[in-house]
Amino acid sequence: MTGAGVSPGNGHGPVKGVGVSPGIGYGPAYVLAEQVPEPPVGERYAGEAGPEKDRVAQALERVAAELDRRGERAGGQGREVLGAQAMMARDPGLAVEVAALVDTGLAAPRAVFEAFQKYRDLLTAAGGYLGERAADLDDIRDRVIAVLTGVPMPGVPEEAPGGVPYVLVARDLAPADTAVLSSAVVAAFVTEEGGPTSHTAILARAMGVPAVVACPGATTLDGNLLVDGGAGLVEREPEPHRVEQVRRADAARRRLLAETTGPGRTADGHRVPLLANLGGPADVPAALQAGAEGVGLYRTEFLFLDRASAPSAREQEEAYRAVLEAFPRGKVVVRTLDSGADKPLAFLPPPGEEPNPALGVRGLRMGRHVPEVLTGQLQALARAAEGTSAQLQVMAPMVATAEEAAWFAAACRTAGLPEAGVMIEIPAAALRSADLARFVDFFSIGTNDLAQYAFAADRQLGVLSDLQDAWQPALLDLVALAVGGHGRPCGVCGEAAADPALACVLAGLGVGSLSMGAAGLPAVRAALARHTLVQCRAAAGAARAAASGEQARAAAREHLPGLSELGL
């Protein structure tokens, strides 16, 4: 796509956001309903109370049944969460409350609204975990009122209307919104909030669906949308020939990228293994298809989320072995449980109030607070590795000091694991990587959190996405510090690795392997193959000499001429 970004409301010009998952998507906009309008205060019904109460009972049951059905489709932990929501819709106390309000003459929608309000206040007053459940209650209330008033139901359509995949437009997306989606249903994501490392971005890349985030005014878009998830542009009502043209160009680009195959290496043969980030065994087929040489980040949180207790040793062992067996003789780096902050676990609450959870007891800190969960995980990993030929490496998240690294390495040795490493995502660990290197076998840089902590910018906030830019020279300096001088291999498993130009810069900085969502592998493989290590080093030097992220990107590209040949 060409042309500078224009804000919405400016005719039918393109709208500019931040492209976070490359590719072209085209389809009708589906704007996620933000909220169902509040029924008017004091609204009354005509007719008898009996039929009005029946309407409420039917609407509650319809919503409960729908939640049950979605739970069945999502399976696993989704079933449990949505099942609990269905129980709320079928709550006998709530039904009595609504019926009493209808008896006073209030119309069904208003009666529902007021009855829910009472419980909502109760939960909000309790705060904490219960306070957060108020959102669940609001969701059910809005669904019931939508049924009663005939307005569109909030939530994401699970099937493409008429079989045409839609462009999902929202202020922001919650994991619950997207649990049941696939690329057969959604052509692209466009959100107003969110940054390059938000969950929407990570999910879109995992699904291989184009996505544009931090797109101001997105929820006012309608009609057919053409989304360029690389350039971050959204066009409204494009002419059919325009859609064809953009799609053809994208297909040509993909074919060109696919011409480069085999292990990751620069044009002069410097090896940079290309690995995949996995959120669970379900991501394995896409990783293999994209030619991943192994796994650079196996997130284990999926096993633990939304549960009242830790998964059993056997369940863990099976999930770990499924991935190890998929990469015979390949490297598989497993990250131990990273709970806390944006991924709270019901059975691992923080030991005290945390006004700032991102700076709280999370990652390895939680592992040391509740060592039996970490120990159980390490033992399950050791058993899973028995009899498989994969090279298992285990690493801990959120490590700040050499003492923590030593503690983790000792825990791994006790469990019988041969190779222990740590993630570098706290600036302190990057600054003193040589100290940490005395105790561990390898490092992996998590650029998302490293940027969050280096720039003191919450990665979930779209408004701060400029500070989440991995091209910021300060972040590149931290990467250089983490990599240098200690002789231990150091990879990158953050989203930065999937940016083809930045991948060349990282290789130039001495990063030994790159791990990313499978969809990013072909472009990074092709970009590396078109440049020598000397070019990559020159690009890295130019980027670090720049004064801003934007300038660093431009300066590096001058040393990487192959990128434009590839249409990157």
Partner: protein, 85 residues
């Protein structure tokens, strides 16, 4: 009226999965059953919203009460759920 006094030991308190399991068990019984924190008004144990609203946390004591046929068995079952770690 039969009752059981139970200390909730689960780390999540009587929230999340334990609350759902507790209410599901209460709801399938044909008799009335209530639950309260000490010296507080009892609520319907078959109501997930009311049970969550009690905000029972780890280490707190609750009283479960029921009357009628099968009350003892039901209370034993509910007490076991509420006291499970």
């Amino acid at each position: 009226m039969a009752e059981r006094r139970v200390t909730v030991v689960a780390e999540v308190g009587l929230h999340a999965r334990p609350a759902a399991t507790f209410v599901q068990a209460a709801a399938k019984a044909p008799i009335e059953v209530s639950v309260c924190k000490l010296n507080r008004d009892p609520v319907n144990a078959k109501s997930i919203l009311a049970v969550m609203g009690l905000d029972v946390r780890q280490g707190e004591e609750i009283v479960i009460s029921a009357e009628g046929e099968g009350a003892e068995e039901l209370l034993d079952e509910l007490a076991a759920i509420a006291s499970a770690p």
